[in-house]
Amino acid sequence: MTRIGVVVFPGSNCDTDTLHGLEVAGAEPVALWHEQASLDGVQAVVLPGGFAYGDYLRAGVIARFSPIMRSVSAFAAAGGLVLGICNGFQVLAEAGLVPGALLRNRGLRFLGRDVLITAERNDTAFTWLAGERRPLRMPVAHGEGCYFADDETLDQLERDGQVLFRYVHADGTRAGEAGDPANPNGSLRAIAGVMNAAGNVAGLMPHPERAAEAVLGSEDGLGILRSLVEATRRRAAEGIVPTVAGVVR
């Protein structure tokens, strides 16, 4: 079985959803308490959504100092696969494990509704089973999801293929920045998810685990979870856990 850890911070509220979603995606999910240093031998780590430490001060900032985050950083540095969803993405950004920052939504309101995103690449551990450039429908639910980085960084991210997901219209065209309802938070260049340079750590604002069963109205998120689970399984089979990043063919 593919053991994937889901970190539980005080205030995480998508931890059980994510455990459930990973199970649907075929993994053996394991909850990891924020105060433990050990990753209990998991083969990949997911930071779930929620409001770790209430998201007080700034989303994700306090969680970043949890004991477990030191281990997650080391795991990531050694090439282990780490995915941050929503609040998990914010924690990764605050910890500097993925580039950029997540600012308050430009509309200054929390936004909970379905959005469309596409995977910019289908050759990463997080997207290879997600569906070729097809708009994926899944919910967002956040107040601080406006992706920000300076222009230079944004150019570099685009050049190096680190932009993983973008908000799109129904026809697959990229959403605008401010004022386009297809971009729920005004993210720069409609960025919904990014990864680190090595390609083993990724974060996205939408919630794939909330779109992983037909009864919930969409299964588009399942492909993202399955990408992670299957990539982890293959790497384990090849005896590379954790290992230097990689692009999974």
Partner: protein
């Protein structure tokens, strides 16, 4: 016109006695940062703004109204106004 531009900061803080969940969360996290000896954390807002007016009193009046009516919630927050500087309009 003879207007001058005054730059103010409006500091908004939770009133004493009012629960400040943010301050509490920060305090609770200090241990993880290995920081000791910090207490009494209160988290508020700081708004900086420029008012163009003929005199400092007039400018302060505008900033004060803004603070009381828009920037702070008088039921739970206190505010104070701090002059940061002044100069010719347009030059911030």
């Amino acid at each position: 016109m003879s207007a001058i531009a005054y730059r103010f900061a409006v500091n908004v803080t939770p009133k004493p006695g009012i629960l400040d969940p943010q301050g509490r969360a920060v305090e609770a996290s200090l241990g993880h940062l290995g920081i000791v000896g910090v207490s009494g954390v209160r988290v508020g807002r700081r708004i900086e703004l420029t008012v163009e007016a003929a005199s400092e009193e007039a400018a302060r009046g505008v900033a004060g109204r803004l603070a009381a009516e828009l920037l702070a919630n008088p039921l739970i927050e206190a505010h104070e106004i701090e002059l940061l500087g002044s100069g010719a309009p347009g030059a911030r």
